[in-house]
Symmetry: C3
Subunit: 311 residues, 3 copies
Amino acid sequence: MKQYLDINDIENLPETIKEAIELKKEPFKHKELGKNKTLAMLFFNASLRTRLSTEKAAKNLGMEVMVLNVDSAWNLEFDEGAIMNLGTAEHIKEAAQVLSQYADVIAVRAFPGLVDREQDESEQVLYGFQKYATVPVINMESSTGHPLQALADAISIEELSFKKKPKVVLSWAPHPKALPHAVANSFVQMMQKREVDFFITHPKGYELNPEMVKDVKVYYDQEQALEDADIVYVKNWSSYKEYGKVLNTDNNWMLTKEKVGNAKFMHCLPVRRNVVVEDAVLDSENSIVIQQANNRTYAAQIVLKKMLEEL
Amino acid sequence: MKQYLDINDIENLPETIKEAIELKKEPFKHKELGKNKTLAMLFFNASLRTRLSTEKAAKNLGMEVMVLNVDSAWNLEFDEGAIMNLGTAEHIKEAAQVLSQYADVIAVRAFPGLVDREQDESEQVLYGFQKYATVPVINMESSTGHPLQALADAISIEELSFKKKPKVVLSWAPHPKALPHAVANSFVQMMQKREVDFFITHPKGYELNPEMVKDVKVYYDQEQALEDADIVYVKNWSSYKEYGKVLNTDNNWMLTKEKVGNAKFMHCLPVRRNVVVEDAVLDSENSIVIQQANNRTYAAQIVLKKMLEEL
Amino acid sequence: MKQYLDINDIENLPETIKEAIELKKEPFKHKELGKNKTLAMLFFNASLRTRLSTEKAAKNLGMEVMVLNVDSAWNLEFDEGAIMNLGTAEHIKEAAQVLSQYADVIAVRAFPGLVDREQDESEQVLYGFQKYATVPVINMESSTGHPLQALADAISIEELSFKKKPKVVLSWAPHPKALPHAVANSFVQMMQKREVDFFITHPKGYELNPEMVKDVKVYYDQEQALEDADIVYVKNWSSYKEYGKVLNTDNNWMLTKEKVGNAKFMHCLPVRRNVVVEDAVLDSENSIVIQQANNRTYAAQIVLKKMLEEL
């Protein structure tokens, strides 16, 4: 694998999911593969789960890991021909090339500003590293996608071993803050590639990017959408049309035990209890959120493994 | 060992101290024990000595170490049934369970606020991790205790090889800032379990928690307390009664060469020179503070070793 | 090697440069050398290249690495006999001795304030660690020098394999911010020890410390200085005489394709494009800045190797 910027970079998805499940059984089996190889993890935004699971994955493969929390301290320039006499101190050209001298794989997290849609969608940090790095680049959540999460989600669904094609519903939930679309986008993309019946439900005004949704059926009526669901994936996102705005915090959209019924409950975490979903769901046996978090390690590990095999 | 929240979690203290001294002679002897095991270190407050000595200890045992400086960035919820629509973004239930997916041992540092005694004594961070984590938890200094320091202190005293039962005095010292009770508490608890004659001295108003002090004799007259002492352990703490207040910065309580006489001098560091203790004491041969700091490694290592042996 | 505070600590420079070039061919050859040895890296200022390349170097040698970003959080006292009742919480005496308990080599970065020349030149952080640490200390850029950079520069020049003695010119460049003298100083010192014809060019008022420059010829006319140059090393620094001041941001001093001609272009990075040097130079085949950055690893690695061999 030459890069993992979005889920389309996975060549054979069903096979990759199976391999990840195999890895989970013997996580240290390929520890020789990463010997003398280094993963540099660059966080332009804070991280907990992604940081720890990706670091764990790399070390399971015997890699060295260098974590760099650059926050806003590293003021990169992205424009060609810029006269850098203001706030930016280093051009992405040098930054990416230099990092490629010290690492065999570079993983990058850079969140959207949620103010200027066009700028966010240009993914200048992620694509800047892709363009100029001379080693494989991994997306650890960018403006528009979180493909490591989506792969962990797919692994978690596979592990549920449904005998029939399960009905999967992505349901928007209220949240006091404006959140990115990345997790929802990647999950929507992923479900379209899997053997599932997939639906989305959210209030009017919360339509996701139509290029992601394509012909997935969208319900504005949550109850109708959730009927006979096998899996309910809950996630908040801010408006895409009125970009980055919180239009609605109607707690009628919170997922309850009654609504979820016997369906499995998924969420990428962190989750605000009794706002996004009530305690009774999270604390029930139908919640697989901890298993999902665990699978983050094996999602990262299968991606790193495929990269190491081609180095 | 299933957890190390306070010194009472050590089953056989004399034996454990002896084993730590053995470890110090051959720190890398058990490097196979921690193979493919990971320690996650969570710092809700800054750390230098504890960070480096515990990381060193884990690596001496062959463990992988993941350090997370969460500071105030990780706003955890601790209340059952909370509606998380305000500042908190993740419940300790998920936080602890998720971390347990990525680490085999979790070590946590969380200082007291020194404003609300009841809240500090509820130890919500430490006990939250204890309750929900599915792996062993280590206290790297909480509101009420610093058991790794106390174990290092006990190791240091053992290494002094007194032939008779030594007289140990914990002496309060002035300090411009309000400091926690954790180090003093754990030292007081530890001394009550060792073969020493133990006394405490401090100005009126600086009485420690009576549940810690029990029937240890307390002097308000420092000179009287220090008479014929073999070991003087100096430490500042803020008032416990008038919780978190600095009542007194009387520099007559500073430890001097004259007062300490031929006794060994101990302090957990960092120490404010010529405020807590004068240069002449710290720079004398009777100061064992550097050796004490070194023993932090072996205190952490014996605790980790006992945990790894039961994993 | 007992310390690497400045380039004079290298005993046999030509041999050391050759050994570094050998290391680069087989970076993992000496992985047994650093087994069970720990490098502690202390950053009082932010770092990217130095952090990653030095960490990489240590791991190439099999060392464990502990990175501590202390920023301004660790308020050290440097004065003998100080009464520490104000802002400082730990004396360098304890700090350095304690760190020496946890690490086999200590590397320190501490930038100048660029306000008080005498204070900056006293190098209290670096020399404080040198004085009190009981293990070797490495300078990862101090007020007055950046010897790891200078060694990487010398390696890079050696790799160019000039058949005749090359003409090397250090050319000042404009920059909007006041920058330290460390890189320029160490490069000037290094060039005086190499088989090169070395010249410096800068506007009036930007004279470097005469103790560094000694009898190196200085031109105020950049064009004249660059004539027939084989290597142009560009770097900004603030005024030394009017200490820390930006006297001139005349962009006529920016290095252009026309000025550099066929000479090789060097810079320590990060570099402000089209302010310090124009795109056409950086993007040309004559720029060796990425190779220079890569050599930072081998400069650090040869220094660490020589230290480990004497431990």
